[in-house]
């Protein structure tokens, strides 16, 4: 989250003091992201150094503090307008712990995938119930807060939907003959046929999650 640009946005309304900026920042993010006042002053110092804001009034005090108000400069306004229109980089998938857990669970012999998925689903829906209760209590009065809560609900909802899809894919893969990982013998006797082992390529071992689930997979030999 860019505190820098949030402060520029607040200053675009007119000159403000540091404490005031902190209060307004918190109000404008639905009180969900608290900000300490030290962070506000450090950020203001950097913005001033970069010529994006300027001190207002006597400006005698060298240190930023309660006595000093700031205004946005033309360069600051231009920077803010630019930033608002540049999409954040979402091109690289984040390393998602939940995705990792499900991918790994598929490889752990004897895992009941429905149970694993349901444990995560239940937790996420409980979390959504808590956010919804906040929304209900607020009843749409605080627009910024509603937007933040909506964004959290949509984010968690997308994870629940992914879990639903993952469960569906696993079921379909099982119906298509895919075999979940089985406990393997540590040392198969020489000369005996090899016990089933996961294929070398992880993608082939977990077709249900990474592919369409329709493709042919090599049965373990």
């Amino acid at each position: 989250m860019s505190v820098r640009h949030a402060l520029l946005a607040l200053l675009s309304e007119g000159p403000k003091y540091g404490l005031q900026l902190r209060e307004e920042f918190e109000a404008n993010t639905g009180q969900v992201w608290p900000l300490n006042v030290g962070q506000v002053y450090t950020t203001l110092q950097r913005l001033e150094r970069d010529g994006l804001v300027a001190a207002v009034g006597d400006g005698e005090s060298m240190e930023p503090g309660p006595q000093k108000a700031y205004r946005i400069t033309d360069m600051g306004s231009a920077e803010l307008a630019h930033w608002l229109r540049v999409p954040p980089d979402l091109s690289t998938p984040p390393r998602d712990d939940l995705v990792m857990k499900v991918l790994i669970a598929v490889r752990v012999p004897g895992t009941d995938m429905s149970e694993v998925i349901q444990a995560h689903r239940r937790y996420l829906i409980q979390l959504m119930q808590e956010w919804t209760r906040l929304k209900e209590d607020d009843n749409g009065r605080d627009l910024a807060f509603s937007l933040v809560v909506d964004s959290e609900l949509f984010r968690i909802d997308s994870v629940v939907r992914w879990l639903d899809a993952a469960e569906g894919r696993l079921r379909r893969a099982l119906a298509d003959g895919w075999k979940p990982a089985q406990p393997a013998n540590v040392s198969p006797p020489i000369g005996q046929p090899k016990l089933p082992r996961p294929p070398a390529r992880p993608r082939a071992a977990i077709p249900a999650l990474s592919d369409t689930g329709q493709q042919e997979t090599e049965p373990p030999q």
């Binding site: 979390l127 209900e136 469960e167």
Partner: protein, 238 residues
């Protein structure tokens, strides 16, 4: 007080090779004032659970109690009365009668129950006004937006003294803002003492419920814990 209780309900459709077990030993209690959401993939038995809870279908085995009364032991006439007076139904596709105005759609269940036309009409207007639809009372369904139609359907489901509201994907055909207002509405009725069971596959809508239960292959496999206070969430995020 328990408004709805399902005791070890099972439902089998068809026979022999065509046999489908829609519900397996499902037990569920819904208290007065409680809103329960039922989630599960399609084919998990959600709709069967709702039609059986609403006495529109009988279970193959088990018992269904509404306000403490065993519905399977009721005479046909008593059961019809229960459906008209106690249970309100909301469906995904609204099921409004196209030839009747909004007010007539809402007053119909009361009139069928023997209430005079005038009284039923007044009750319908009151129910519509509560849902901010007072100015739509004389509109026909095709003159209403999707969100308005569903609100009329909800007014029809709650008009009179219904204590049990059953909804099958009530916001399935609506956008997210309208869907939310439908759930908010059901939630408001529950706060006044109505018990509600809402079937949905949508987690955002289910999260309006006090409790979410999960169906898989006809079994109730899990449910959410009692809600924590909203304060916990804000503490965690700070």
């Amino acid at each position: 007080m328990t408004t709805l209780e399902l005791r070890s309900v099972s439902k089998v459709y068809g026979r022999g090779a065509a046999e489908v077990q829609a519900l397996r030993d499902v037990s569920l209690r819904v208290a007065a004032g409680e809103m329960v959401a039922v989630m599960g993939p399609s084919g998990s038995g959600k709709s069967s659970l709702l039609t059986i809870a609403g006495t529109l279908e009988e279970p193959t085995s088990g018992a269904v109690l509404v306000n403490g009364e065993d519905t399977l032991r009721m005479a046909g006439s008593a059961k019809s009365r229960l459906r008209r007076q106690t249970i309100g139904y909301v469906f995904q596709d609204f099921n409004l009668l196209p030839g009747l105005t909004a007010a007539e759609n809402v007053s119909l269940p009361l009139e069928l129950d023997g209430t005079s036309m005038r009284k039923a009409h007044l009750a319908a207007l009151k129910a519509l006004e509560e849902l901010s639809l007072g100015d739509r009372a004389s509109h026909f369904p095709d003159q209403l937006s999707g969100g308005e139609r569903q609100r009329v359907a909800i007014a029809r489901a709650v008009v009179g003294e219904r204590t049990l509201l059953l909804a099958d994907e009530p916001s399935g055909a609506l956008d997210s803002v309208n869907g939310e207002s439908v759930m908010r509405l059901i939630h408001t009725y529950c706060k006044r003492g109505t018990a509600a069971v809402v079937v949905t596959h949508d987690a955002q809508l289910a999260s309006w419920a006090d409790r979410v239960v999960f169906l898989r292959d006809g079994r109730l496999v899990d449910q959410t814990a009692a809600p924590a206070g909203p304060e916990t969430l804000l503490e965690q995020s700070s």
